[in-house]
């Protein structure tokens, strides 16, 4: 079930109506847990069992950490949780990739490898819920939060359906305290949630899905297209992935908000970043801060000298790339960003600070858009072909099939992005509108958004991660 299909709307209406009709907070949480399981189980009951299994393991680990005070035993519990969670993630997500890479390496060394080949199905959202669950064990392990006593609360934290399959990655430290206080309907900002949900839906269906066909056509056969097509497609993909992912995040935050829960912000106008470092403070914030807090800082961060900082950054971005998918293109994409961060850390950022704003934007946008070429390409070879084409070094004659009219859309979206960052799109007047006027306006806008939407239930890009 995905947020842009009709049955989700029916599901959400029922879940929401029953949720607020229930009188006790405990009943509501049980209902949310039950419906979250249905939400995920509608895709696969087997993988629902897997998710609940790993979540219960972490719940048990939390209880042990509460009981045991011996640091060695506590470290062992945390280590076991890490091994189990990352082991499950590694098996489902990376087995095929690493076996394939090992086979290629052995073959290149003259061996005839006979490695076991398993066609493993990737459970939807495994990277998200694994990181979420891990944050709990790590936080309890270091004493940042107490362990949860209620298994129901913990399972709800992991399976909460608005953010289950594509984030934002909710930290235990942010979400669990919300489960211990009572949600009341008076505190819910339904208008804000409704508007945010519609904005997210519009981003996904009216923009991301509308440009997807053109992007797919170019990236399916990059060798056929010339520089103009490739630049247009690369920029359109930047638009697509932002509108797709931030659209999902908006809908997730709005849905959670309608139940009275607050999720962390995941995007902050990333394409207005003034450097690549700044971009990572604005893009997929829940993931970048996760890596910062649970990997970069424990590795020493920038406290252990320049060489170690560079190594830490490279490692974090290598893993960040790998988190997105088991493919060389994602690894290179991660390292690409890591390299830009290193350049900025080595003095580039100081230079940028003295440069005019347009130059800074060109620098960061250029790095990001070209980075998306790695991210979107089907293989590293395709990406290399695309780069050759982008810079006019294509091998053969190229066709021009992408309409330049797309640049009008890109320019319009750039202006909208900027205006939205200044708070000029959602007028403060909405807050003061009488309810009937607001509701009519909302209904009219929904009809217009649906009219402009590209329908067909195209899945969200980040579902595959």
């Amino acid at each position: 079930m995905i947020f842009n299909e009709a049955r989700f709307f029916v599901f959400l209406a029922i879940v929401l109506a029953v949720y607020w009709a229930l009188r006790r907070d405990g009943q509501r949480k049980t209902w949310l847990l039950f419906t979250s399981c249905i939400f995920y189980g509608a895709w696969s009951t087997k993988f629902l069992a897997l998710m609940l299994g790993t979540a219960l393991f972490d719940y048990g680990a939390g209880l042990l950490l509460t009981r045991w005070t011996d640091p060695r035993r506590r470290r062992a519990v945390v280590a076991t949780s890490l091994i189990v969670n990352l082991g499950v993630l590694g098996f489902f997500k990376y087995w095929g990739f690493f076996v394939g890479a090992a086979a290629d390496l052995l073959l290149s060394l003259g061996f005839q490898p006979n490695l076991p080949v398993l066609h493993v199905v990737l459970p939807v959202g495994i990277s998200f819920y694994t990181f979420q669950s891990l944050s709990y064990t790590l936080d309890v392990g270091r004493g940042a939060i107490p362990a949860v006593r209620s298994a129901r609360d913990f399972l709800l934290f992991v399976t909460f359906f608005p953010q289950l399959v594509a984030g934002p990655i909710v930290r235990a430290i942010d979400f669990l305290p919300q489960l211990t206080s009572i949600r009341t309907i008076d505190r819910v900002k339904f208008r804000a949630c409704a508007v945010l949900f519609l904005v997210g839906f519009a981003k996904k269906t009216c923009i991301a899905d509308r440009v997807a066909g053109t992007v797919d056509a170019v990236f399916q056969d990059v060798g056929r297209h010339g520089a103009a097509d490739l630049w247009t497609a690369a920029c359109l993909y930047a638009v697509q992935i932002y509108c797709d992912f931030s659209g999902y995040s908006d809908m997730a935050i709005a849905t959670a908000g309608a139940f009275g829960y607050t999720l962390t912000r995941n995007f902050n106008f990333p394409y207005l970043a003034q450097s690549v470092t700044d971009f990572w403070r604005r893009w997929h914030i829940s993931l970048s801060t996760w890596f910062r807090d649970y990997l970069y800082i424990p590795l020493g961060g920038n406290r252990l000298g320049t060489a170690r900082t560079c190594l830490n950054l490279a490692l974090v971005f290598l893993l960040c790339g790998l988190w997105h998918g088991a493919a060389w293109t994602f690894i290179i994409w991660g390292l690409w960003h890591g390299a830009f961060l290193l350049i900025e850390r080595a003095g580039g950022e100081r230079l940028l600070e003295s440069a005019p704003v347009p130059l800074r934007t060109v620098w960061s946008l250029g790095a990001v858009v070209l980075g998306w070429v790695w991210f979107r390409s089907a293989s590293a070879t395709d990406a290399a072909t695309a780069f050759a084409g982008l810079f006019g070094a294509a091998a053969g004659p190229a066709v021009r099939s992408v309409s330049p009219v797309w640049w009008v859309l890109i320019a319009a979206l750039a202006v909208t992005h900027f205006a939205a960052s200044r708070g000029r799109l959602v007028s403060a007047r909405l807050a003061t509108l009488p309810l009937p006027s607001f509701a009519v306006l909302y209904g009219v806008t929904w009809a217009l958004v649906l009219f402009c939407a590209a329908i067909g239930n195209r899945a969200f890009i980040y579902f595959q991660f």
Partner: protein, 371 residues
Amino acid sequence: MAKSFPPMDRVLGTPRSARPRVIAGLLCALGGFVVTVAALNAVIPASVRADADVALVDAAWERVAAETEVLIIGSSRVFDHLLPDVVEARLAERGHPLRCFNAALVGSFAHETDVRLRRMLRVPSPRLRFVVAELQPWAPEIYGGMRYTARTIDWHDAEATADALRTCESAPADLDAKFGNATDHLGQFAARVTGAGLVGTVASRFRDAWSGRDERVIAETVAAKSLPRSRSASATGPAPTTQSTAFDAALFRTRTAAMLAGTLADDCWGVFDRDMLTRRVDAIRAAGAEPVHFVSPTAYTFAAGLSAAAEPGMGHTLAFNRPADYPGLFDPMARFDNFHLLRPAARELSVRVADGLADLMDAAAAADRKR
């Protein structure tokens, strides 16, 4: 805790929990939605809302309906196999100079064919004598690439959706599949009612009309008396000339052999609904024509469908799924794939269909003379 997003307090207000206010709000939103959808539906004419291919065939039909005597409709198994010029030439040879129009569309399954036939029969066609409609099962499923296309959304009117839901219910499948298929049809219906995604269709229709493409294709369609296949598939013109690389000739031979031995199961992709067939027959008769059920030469028995069509009052049947009677049409070398013929075989089949129609007319004339 990290800062919440959106900055709700700053931007928007908080509604107080008051049930009447919530209900009033929902009703107002629904009202705004319904009025806007109705306004959009009223402003955008049906011809612009339709899929480009369907609109072009419909436009061509409006031009030729008054003088057409044989309307042919169905899927690619009809589009590719019944060549109007060949049928007309053979009918003329047999002393029946009738004019044909092939309105079949690639990928058109029975539910869509019913809707299109219903709409086409609304166009006055006083000379219409025969409607050759493909007899194929009513499929519960919407096939892959056809979901949420302008064409599929367009045929999901209330009546067709109700029929499709009935098919979902009656077709043998597990509950999951039935539910999935039913929600799929409801989704298309909802998209049709709300005008979801129409902006893309409307934009492409305006672009085609603006560039004069529509007129060119309609002229081509009227001249060829069917839509050129190039608009909907890779080959040019009806009936391809080279065999599909995906053709599994061995499987086709096995199925054909089983048909000849009488051991092939009635394993088609849907159900033959007697009521829907009756409605189709009634609609054709109401337009003053005689129904002719056409079964293309495929390795499927369609036993249930043929037995329903053979009932009294259901019209005539021209069934070519009989390898013993038509071995040439079942020769793998004559075929594009399991379902379609290459052009020489399509010409042969067109002649046989024309002969079938001529036989019907001759028999009717003989009966009249006897009376």
